[in-house]
């Protein structure tokens, strides 16, 4: 939109103010994680730690077995990521590049699961896993990703596959290629950026998941970082320095992953949002 200089200046000021509001919680997190308790509680609040208490991180991460929580989180995150990328792209291929009777009806039915509150499936799924003997294991948190990887991801990839010209497949067909070959040699390599988006969403989704681990995990040795942080808060609830240090450690990987994949992220959200 073309705008006058005055409007531009007003808009710029508004954006700066809004950005400050969005950034302050991060700064509050970082500065608290590097202070000792006496400085944290000073009034009015101070912003620069004096001195920097880097040992807060060491303390926070050793009072509970955060290395174990980290390992569990990594197992879940990558287990889910591999399953999601592999099976959602195969399914999206079947829903976009192969013509078959009833395809769009089946896809529409699958799409309804996006509207379904997880609260409805939560209890029976829990009972099912428990019946199979997998309560208090990591399986219930990983295995479902190998069955399509979530309809949202299939939808996102399908949107992308539909933009690839059909001639590519037709030409390959004439050369006698099978569907598998077309998927592996043409569609999969061409959809690299969309697959990165799915991988990023999947990473954040399982890294941030709180309710899943809460329901399925009972033993401390299987806890994820999210559950560990919750446990930490229950035990050391007035230790804001250590609590913020532990929180910062949980936040950091997400921020790094986001900043690295930022370009793909914004594209991905746009791709799904526009077609809503």
């Amino acid at each position: 939109m073309r705008t006058s200089k005055l409007a531009m200046a007003a808009g710029y000021t508004a954006l700066v103010l809004i950005s400050i509001l969005f950034v302050v919680p991060f700064i509050w997190l970082i500065r608290s994680s590097l202070m000792d308790l006496s400085q944290i509680f000073t009034m009015p609040p101070e912003w620069i730690p004096k001195p920097f208490h880097w040992d807060n991180f060491h303390k926070a991460l050793t009072v509970l077995p955060f290395d174990v929580f980290f390992k569990n989180t990594i197992i879940i995150v990558f287990g889910v990521l591999i399953g999601t990328v592999a099976t959602s792209s195969i399914a999206a291929f079947g829903f976009s590049r192969i013509r078959w009777k009833g395809r769009d009806t089946v896809f529409a039915i699958l799409m309804t699961s996006m509207m379904l509150p997880f609260a409805v499936t939560m209890i029976p799924s829990f009972l099912g896993w428990k019946e199979l003997g997998f309560y208090d294991t990591l399986y219930p948190l990983i295995v479902p990703a190998y069955f399509g990887g979530g309809i949202f991801n299939i939808f996102l990839l399908r949107q992308f596959y539909l933009t690839i010209p059909r001639d590519f497949d037709e030409a390959a067909f004439v050369d006698g290629a099978s569907y598998f070959k077309i998927y592996l040699k043409i569609i999969f390599p061409l959809s690299r950026s969309a697959l990165i988006v799915v991988a990023l969403f999947s990473f954040l989704g399982s890294w941030n998941d709180f309710m899943g681990p809460l329901i399925y995990l009972k033993s401390d040795r299987l806890f994820t970082l999210a559950l560990g942080l919750q446990m930490f808060q229950g035990t050391y609830n007035a230790q804001w320095d250590l609590l913020m240090a532990a929180s910062a450690v949980v936040v950091l990987p997400c921020v790094v992953v986001f900043l690295i994949g930022q370009r793909y992220f914004l594209e991905g959200i746009t791709l799904t949002g526009l077609k809503g």
């Binding site: 939560m122 069955f147 309710m211 929180s247």
Partner: protein, 295 residues
């Protein structure tokens, strides 16, 4: 094409199986469970017909009404706040100011922060004695608040914490806004219209499909809020933040009354469906589709 059906089914089989095993099956099971008195710690389970539902609506379970009220209040407060604020921020970002990419990153970033960590940060910011918010307020000689710890302010406070994460709604609005052809605005300029006529006659009508999408997603998400209730307040003080899904979880997993909790889940499902249906129905009158396409 050749044997399309077989290959189509082959490629989509994992997804279809997943739907049957993890969505359709549990859905039916949940409906059946809601008609029983299933409890993990009871040896016998019997079919009780609709008595779970009768118990819910008889008024015997006061917490059910309490949690419904709390959740509706939250939805009514949060949905307009999220939509208006994200739309306003998207409009600002759409102005092509210098450093636009940086502003966009800053505003999006909080939405990827894990709920648990975000909750920790906000508990600390909202700490009544030592938190930043109250320090700021008293520095400005304004009345301070007990935020999450007072009956009257707990829900608005939770809404406030979730507003930090509106980044993805902003980005979707921004995508909708950047899809509006420049020439439309120029036509208004030729007619001598200012920014207000541009907003009313071009921007708002053209952005209604995005508005529609964002509104539905925000409503569905707001009805299902759980993490905030679990981590920030545990439903308190005095059940004033007893969110519906938190109450459901507590009934099913802490009190192990899973039959009754399944009935709660189905009521939530119906409520969400009704809201979605109403918005879909009314969308015909307020969502503008170029080329006359309708959902």
């Amino acid at each position: 094409m050749r044997k399309g059906l077989w290959y189509g089914l082959l490629f989509t089989a994992p997804a279809i199986l997943g739907f049957v095993i993890f969505t359709l099956g549990p859905m039916i099971a949940s409906l059946v469970l809601s008609l029983t008195d299933f409890n993990v710690f009871k040896d016998q389970t019997s079919f009780v017909g609709f008595s779970n539902y009768a118990r819910l609506f008889s008024g015997e379970d006061e917490l059910f009404y309490q949690s419904l009220g709390v959740t509706f209040y939250f939805v009514v407060l949060r949905v307009p706040a999220v939509i208006i604020i994200s739309f306003a921020i998207a409009l600002l970002l759409n102005m092509n100011v210098k450093g636009r990419a940086m502003f966009r990153t800053i505003i999006y970033l909080p939405s990827i922060v894990p709920a648990i960590a975000s909750a920790m940060i906000w508990m600390w910011l909202m700490n009544p004695d030592l938190g930043l918010l109250n320090s700021m307020l008293s520095w400005l000689h304004l009345p301070t608040s007990n935020w999450l710890y007072a009956e009257g302010s707990v829900i608005p406070s939770v809404v406030l914490t979730t507003l930090w994460g509106i980044g993805s709604t902003v980005i979707i609005f921004l995508a909708g806004l950047s899809g509006i052809p420049q020439s439309y605005y120029e036509a208004i300029e030729v007619d001598g219209g200012g920014w207000y006529s541009k907003l009313r006659q071009i921007t708002i009508p053209m952005v209604t499909p995005t508005l529609f999408f964002n509104t539905i997603m925000t409503i569905i998400g707001s009805f299902q809020v759980f993490n905030e209730a679990y981590i920030l307040t545990q439903g308190g003080p005095n059940n004033r933040s007893l969110f519906y899904v938190f109450y459901l979880w507590r009934t099913g997993f802490r009190d192990t009354e899973m039959g009754y909790a399944s009935a709660l889940a189905w009521i939530l499902f119906v409520i969400i469906m009704v809201f979605t249906y109403i918005i879909f129905k009314t969308s015909k009158s307020w969502v503008y589709y170029e080329g006359g396409e309708r959902p």
